[in-house]
């Protein structure tokens, strides 16, 4: 098993109650492995979401992916009482996913 932390870096962004995870693979080999293994279903399960709430875009030129997790932030920065309403910390949750 390999942690995402060994293959890529992740940056979190938010739009309303949607969490956006940018996944940047360390190199071409890591990108190809992630392309196979880091599926919408796997990411959804890791974040406790239905797979229909997650979309994935691939950017081969930049060895990167963008995942959109809708509804995860439950009201976003203003509608949610969570201390981290933006979900800024969530990138480090994806880094622990094992493939």
């Amino acid at each position: 098993m390999t942690q995402i932390d060994e293959l890529a870096s992740v940056r979190t962004g938010d739009k309303g109650d949607t969490l956006i995870l940018a996944v940047i693979a360390h190199d071409q080999a890591a990108f190809e492995l992630l392309d196979q293994e880091l599926s919408v279903e796997r990411v959804a399960a890791h974040f406790g979401l239905n797979a229909r709430a997650v979309t994935r875009s691939e950017l081969p030129t930049l060895h990167s992916f963008s995942f959109e997790l809708s509804g995860l932030l439950g009201g976003g920065v203003t509608g949610s009482p969570n201390l981290d309403g933006h979900g800024k910390t969530m990138s480090y949750h994806l880094l622990t996913l094992e493939i």
């Binding site: 932390d5 940056r11 940047i24 890791h46 963008s66 976003g76 201390l83 949750h93």
Partner: protein, 488 residues
């Protein structure tokens, strides 16, 4: 105590700007950003433009609420100090300033900035853009919100603000008219940069590929330190040197919107293909369709190439024509939120914190009729920010955080009072109580036909005498050069 006067560290420098290029720098990436990196850039960056991005999605709604409570206070509270601290350098170096720090009242902001600039005895004509405040249009049209599919007027809470995301064109018009400082309200973040570049190169705003490429540059710069190693660094996997003196980025841009991203030599941080890639994808849901008021930009073929240390060449952006509607952020008065926090450390931390929470929830229910379902509890130290996705069984320390909402400040303040009272009435060893109350503005979004909004957008100057026919002002070399079709 140290000094409150900020100064640049010594040993900063920047290379001369290449011929036929415009240099745009980031002075701030959000309202709470540091002040000193902008001073360093203004002093040593040889900038044509310094851009302060100061508005979040919610900031403008909160500013509208402030303006309603006290007139002429609806602009960014840090704006005047930011401009005061760079104005002398900007005047000396021919650097113009663009900012969305006008927030809910660009006119009041412009007058306050103009006064500060006058006190410094520098000549920087101030223009401002109005027309992003579309509350009356939204009240008339009552569009459906993106989040609920229902009319804007039917959402919970009183609708207190509606601000449209304007694009680059009014900024360009202000600069074309001779403004040295341009202050806007809600403008899309990358458009602050696109407006400056469009002025400098006399661009055609309907050239979607060109504006798409410029939007890539604006998006990379808009969060300032996030492209030079901030929000990127990890001491183990991605160490970045000099974060305490993180340098903010600038870009050397040519007439075709090809750019090299860089930062001051001697400043902290780094500019690499990796910092640039992370920022390119930041907050971008569909990289092939990044929608702004100016263009639908396509980031999917963007390439980064390290031209030198801390110098990254950006190319490959494209675009398709801009949308026929503008995004509008709606702000609703959502009452008050109160919270209290208390720490438990050592043996049975978790169990004591859980008991404490149960006591507060029961008392709020029985004494104040607060629905237990509406009370929000976090156990900080037990992966609270991961929102229950990770189980932590035996934490060394837990900080209990209890949050509740109420219609009035008085009721909301009870939450923190009840947590504080646990000191003497709750589980053993609770320490470090803190409480707070703040008003809540919640936001939703909708779309409005851009022609209705743009009819009401205008550019005005603080002092009309500054708005002499500046397009013909021979003293304004940049404008004169632009009219010859040359880059500034």
């Amino acid at each position: 105590m140290g000094s409150l006067t900020l100064s640049s560290p010594s040993g900063l420098s920047s290379p001369p700007k290449p011929a036929h290029h415009v240099r745009v720098g980031a002075g701030a990436g959000f309202a709470g950003d540091r002040l000193d990196p902008a001073i360093s850039l203004a002093e040593h960056g040889r900038l044509d433009f310094l851009v302060f991005e100061l508005l979040g999605e919610r900031t403008v709604a909160a500013a509208q609420r402030r303006e309603r409570e006290t007139a002429h206070t609806g602009f960014d509270p840090t704006l005047v100090e930011r401009i005061r601290s760079v104005a002398v350098h900007c005047a000396a170096n021919g650097t113009r300033i663009v900012t969305n720090g006008g927030a809910a009242n660009p006119r009041a902001a412009a007058h306050a900035v103009a006064e500060a600039v006058r006190e410094l005895d520098v000549d920087l004509p101030v223009a401002y853009v109005i027309g992003d405040d579309v509350l009356s249009i939204v009240s008339d049209e009552d569009p459906l919100t993106w989040e609920t599919g229902q009319p804007a007027s039917t959402a919970d809470g009183e609708l207190i603000s509606a601000n449209a995301y304007l694009g680059a064109e009014p900024i360009r018009r202000a600069l074309d008219s001779g403004a040295r400082i341009v202050i806007t309200g809600r403008v899309a973040d990358p458009s602050l940069y696109v407006g400056a570049l469009a002025h400098s190169f006399d661009w055609d705003h309907s050239d979607a590929d060109l504006i798409g490429r410029a939007t890539v540059i604006g998006h990379l710069l808009e969060c300032a330190g996030q492209v030079t190693g901030g929000y990127f660094a990890d001491p183990v996997t991605k160490p970045v040197a000099g974060l305490a003196r993180l340098g903010f980025p600038f870009a050397d841009v040519d007439a075709n919107a090809q750019a090299v991203l860089s930062k001051l030599e001697g400043s902290g941080g780094e500019v690499t293909t990796r910092t640039c890639t992370e920022q390119l994808l930041y907050e971008v849901s569909d990289p092939s369709a990044y929608i702004t008021p100016d263009v639908i930009a396509d980031f999917s073929h963007v390439r980064f190439e390290e031209a030198d240390v801390d110098r990254v060449r950006v190319s490959g952006g494209t675009g398709t024509p801009r949308p026929s509607t503008l995004k509008v952020t709606l702000g609703y008065d959502s009452g008050w939120q109160g919270e209290g926090q208390l720490s438990y450390s050592g043996l049975r931390s978790k169990e004591r914190a859980e008991l404490a929470a149960a006591i507060v929830v029961q008392r709020l229910d029985e004494l104040y009729d607060v629905d237990p379902e509406s009370v929000f509890v976090e156990y900080i130290g037990m992966a609270a920010a991961f929102r229950g996705l990770v189980a932590v069984d035996d934490p060394a320390e837990v900080r209990l955080r209890i949050v509740g909402s109420a219609a009035t400040r008085q009721v909301a303040s009870i939450i923190g009072d009840e947590v504080e009272a646990l000191y003497t009435n709750g589980p053993a060893g609770g320490g470090g109580a803190r409480k707070s109350v703040h008003s809540v503005v919640s936001v939703k979004s909708c779309s409005v036909d851009r022609t209705i909004i743009e009819e009401a957008v205008s550019v005005e100057f603080v002092d009309d005498s500054a708005n002499a026919p500046a397009n013909n002002d021979p003293a304004d070399e940049n404008t004169a050069a632009r009219r010859r079709g040359d880059p500034a």
